[in-house]
């Protein structure tokens, strides 16, 4: 019995296992030549799908590289990335909101992009100047595929209803107020039924105040090195006065009306709103909504805009072959063809003027006004986005709910925001 078993073992099992070992060795050899890298971004369906398409293209061009995409829900994304850092695990290439970059660069989570592959001078020549938000001490740490800016979006049907030409949007702040007043509808009991202009600072409008209104009233939100709050002067007071007048004096909108600005606009209950280019996809899904897009109104002859972006960086523990592969992938993600595809699929604007300002893009009735806005756009150098955003929300509430003067409110939140900046820069 034992002999039989032994012979069976030699005859059948041994050759089989030998074959198995060879196969394993072969697989190991082949895959040893392949480099695997991981890419992280937050989950947004079209973004995830587009990256999948791009990875297929990239892997065809580079058969020796495998890219794994991992996504997380947007709400958890920043915390996931942050928690992965002390745990020592994480991606090789990571997609980060530009406002989070100072934190991660400060913590040595990202490595400076190697200058032979990404020359800072070339970056400054090729990309919009606002990508300098990813530059620290002369070195770039991340690059975007696409950028976003703000524009005025208006509902053509509501314009017609109010007797306004649906094809001519307001060009200046004065016109904006004038149009908004005509478009606002209250019922007999005095309740707001339709907003002329949305007025929720929690959406995109705090950017409108910070980077657009303050500059249009002759000021600047921050010092050149971003370390000092500088809006606590007449320009800041004027900007806040203008904004609070919208809801308190002209009463053309309300905070929290129909939950938020985009909901009100989608429901056809807001005639005008100021929002980002990423909204086009959402609005285009609504068949009954006839809307137009124009540049953000100017004032005193000054045009300004706010731009933001998600940038891709390489983590500092990526080295050797993985680093080479990551650099190739990052180059691919910031190439002209990727930007074109990104605009088409997602509606975010190309990060290079050479691509963005192509005839067909700048003349596009929907993307065109956003792209024009990029020429004079500013990207706020956030060090603690949540705390800094809260500043303008609180300034408005201090005036409206606490009866503070505009000056008191702006001075108070400027002092609070200055503390946030001081804390960040004192650690450096």
């Amino acid at each position: 019995m034992k002999k039989y078993l032994l012979s069976q073992l030699v005859k059948k099992v041994l050759p089989l296992s030998l074959v198995f070992v060879f196969v394993l060795a072969f697989v190991a050899m082949v895959s040893a030549e392949k480099v695997e890298i991981t890419y992280w971004q937050y989950f947004y369906e079209t973004k995830k799908d587009t990256i999948d398409v791009l990875i297929d293209l990239f892997e065809k061009e580079n058969p020796d590289i495998i890219v794994n995409q991992v996504t997380f829900p947007y709400e958890d994304y920043n915390v996931k990335v942050a928690a992965s850092v002390p745990a020592g695990v994480g991606p090789n290439v990571v997609n980060l909101y530009y406002g989070w970059l100072p934190l991660y660069i400060n913590a040595d989570y990202l490595q400076a992009l190697p200058e032979d592959a990404f020359n800072p001078e070339m970056i400054e020549k090729d990309f919009f100047p606002l990508v300098s938000a990813a530059k620290v001490d002369g070195k770039y740490y991340a690059l975007p595929t696409a950028v976003r800016s703000l524009a005025l979006i208006w509902n053509k049907d509501l314009f017609k209803k109010a007797g306004l030409d649906p094809e001519i949007p307001p060009q200046t702040l004065d016109e904006l107020v004038e149009y908004a007043q005509k478009l606002t509808i209250y019922d007999k009991a005095g309740n707001l039924v339709e907003e002329g202009l949305t007025a929720e600072l929690r959406g995109q409008l705090h950017h409108w105040v910070r980077e657009i209104l303050i500059r249009q009233f002759g000021g600047k939100p921050y010092s050149d090195d971003n370390r000092k709050v500088t809006y606590n002067d007449q320009s800041g007071y004027d900007a806040l006065t203008f904004f609070t007048d919208l809801t308190e004096k002209y009463k053309v909108g309300q905070t929290g009306f129909l939950t938020d600005d985009v909901t009100a606009f989608k429901a056809g209950k807001a005639a005008m709103t100021i929002d980002g280019s990423f909204r086009i996809g959402t609005l285009d899904k609504l068949e009954n909504l006839d809307y137009g897009i124009a540049e953000v109104p100017s004032h005193n002859g000054i045009k300004s805009n706010f731009a933001s972006f998600w940038a891709n960086g390489i983590t500092s523990f990526t080295e050797g072959k993985q680093l080479e592969a990551s650099i190739k992938f990052l180059k691919f993600l910031t190439s002209d063809s990727t930007m074109e595809l990104w605009l088409k699929n997602i509606g975010e604007l190309p990060a290079k003027p050479s691509v963005a300002f192509k005839e067909e893009n700048i003349n596009d009735p929907k993307y065109g006004p956003f792209i024009k806005g990029l020429e004079y756009a500013h990207a706020t150098y956030f060090v603690d986005e949540m705390a800094q955003r809260q500043a303008w929300i609180d300034a408005y509430d201090l005036v409206k709910l606490e009866g503070k003067t505009v000056k008191e409110a702006v001075d108070a939140v400027a002092a609070t925001e200055q503390k946030v900046l001081d804390k960040f820069y004192s650690d450096k």
Partner: protein
Amino acid sequence: MEIRFNKLSIEQKKAIWAYIFLFLPLIFYLVIRIYPAFSSFFISFTDWDIVSSEKRFIGLENYQRMINDPVFLKTLGNTFKYVIFGLPINLILSFIIAYNLNKLQRGLAFYRTLYFIPYMTSLVAVSWVWRWLYQPLPLGFFNNLLGFFGILQQPFLQSTSQALPSILAPTIWVEIGFQVIIFLAGLKAIPEFLYDAADIDGADNWQKLFKITIPLLRPTIIFLIVTGSIKYLRIFTQVYSMTRQGEGGPLNSTKPLVLYIYDNAFRSFDMGYASAMTIVLFVVILCITLVQLRVLEIK
């Protein structure tokens, strides 16, 4: 080993089996709860920002910062407001409901279920439904109701004075479900003959209530006060869900300490400061609970 195990008494064997079964939860508890608790105590003396590799020791700086932080003091005050206003109202309403339900001859199970349903519902869902009820016109149910009676529209969640009570209302509504059930159990446990004896002695309903029912409910009341205070001190979900973007506004008027801790830890990544505040909250809860047990236990 086998032989030795057999030599043990039945009691000892039972104990060993108990420990074997307790081992896994115990390990889990140590790793998931006890270790992080001690670890946050340590982190509270650092300025760790979650992403840095080094945790720099800064002594008591985080604790000093708290004293001068108006938002911390405001949120601590709000937390006490939730307890001081929420808990008594909650207890009184729950007792009144349970006391009357207890008198019902029929349909008790039905009413009990009815009151318990909010407690079973996800708190996030409850909060969002109430948030919609509070909306301004034309959507908000409460404002429509007020309008129907010719009363002026109220700002509710958008006002610094009305927002906190507006958040307390659904919290109380949910908690009533739990407290009614516990009160009912306590009431059922009071022997009927005591009331019969009181009837013979000619006691009226108020006397029965204050001389029999409430004194005998003492353990129930103590239990509800202690667990209720802890729940109100840790209030978070309602505020996070009902205020815009979870900011505990307007102007921090509804922000409880736990939400401020969350903001610092997971939005600003200021782990050291957040940990220090967690320690303070822990001490506060501990002190309040100890004081309550002391005061309520001893006559």
